[in-house]
Subunit: 145 residues, 2 copies
DNA sequence: CAATTTAGTTGACTTTGTCAACTAAATAAA
DNA sequence: TTTATTTAGTTGACAAAGTCAACTAAATTG
């Protein structure tokens, strides 16, 4: 089976991921956070130390928009900013306990959605799905550098 | 390997699909269509016969918003509406040749993004990925009924 | 045929996201 | 060292995306 044949089949993947987006959209509708906000919390959670510029680079988000979201997060005590030691213009971001709680809540909810999606699958199918998801995840990490 | 263990690992999936959304977002930025519009075109393309209500049901989209998008599509000659024979209140939607062209253009562009994402994988990995994507796609079809 | 439901449209609105002008600190060049 | 340039982040004004509720017109129920 060669690459060209795969290209044809990969069309179904297209359908799959737009459906996923629908799911995620729907679940975030019931929360008080937008997709952008959830992704920003994710970035702050996973990085030990990161600045607003890092988020702009990773998520391709407008800096004005990000600035306002971070301001809101700060007001809600979800994050704290600590001036960078190397560069006084830069603030390093981290989640507070409240921020962690919100992040885990969002994550748990979207995991529930995903579980509902995959729970009818067999153990064998799940095994392989997880394996390949992890492969692609690693791949994305590589590409973002 | 039992379900509980999988749940833990499925967290990586979370990351994977938010990254995909980021990719898709970015690629649609360069097109003149929004994600919602691309999804609507997809629905009209795949169904032989469908009404606005069908789209509302499938995509959980606001009917006022849909109404305006369909009006725009009609003005751009991407779709045609034909009154349903059973129910004169209902319009059946289909893509024009121009609509097909736009749809294929959007689809091709997003396929390119996906290919860039998966092309570093081996043939064996691709084989299994495609297999499981198709499994999940079938699953989504089932759930939407 | 009157009352109620359903499909779709429209106006007014909120939320989400962008752009460009700005401030303040850092770095580079003289 | 002091002037010029770059970089991080904020803000105001705006555009795009999406929602809500009131409405029209046709269909269905009783």
């Amino acid at each position: 089976m060669d690459i060209q044949q795969h290209i044809q089949e990969i069309r179904t993947f297209n359908r799959f991921y737009t459906d996923l987006i629908g799911l995620l959209d729907k679940h975030l509708l019931n929360s008080e956070y937008s997709l952008a906000e959830a992704r920003i919390l994710y970035e702050i959670f996973t990085a030990k130390q990161l600045s607003a510029s890092d988020i702009i680079y990773r998520l391709s988000i407008d800096k004005g928009y990000l600035s306002r979201i971070l301001k809101k997060f700060e007001k809600e005590d979800l994050i704290v900013r600590k001036p960078s030691e190397e560069d006084a213009r830069v603030s390093m971001l981290s989640l507070t306990d409240a921020g962690l709680k919100v992040f885990f809540g969002l994550n748990e909810a979207s995991e529930k959605q995903i579980l509902a999606l995959i729970s009818p699958m067999s153990i064998e199918q799940l095994d392989e799905l997880v394996k390949h998801m992890m492969a692609i995840t690693g791949l994305l990490e590589k590409q973002s550098r």
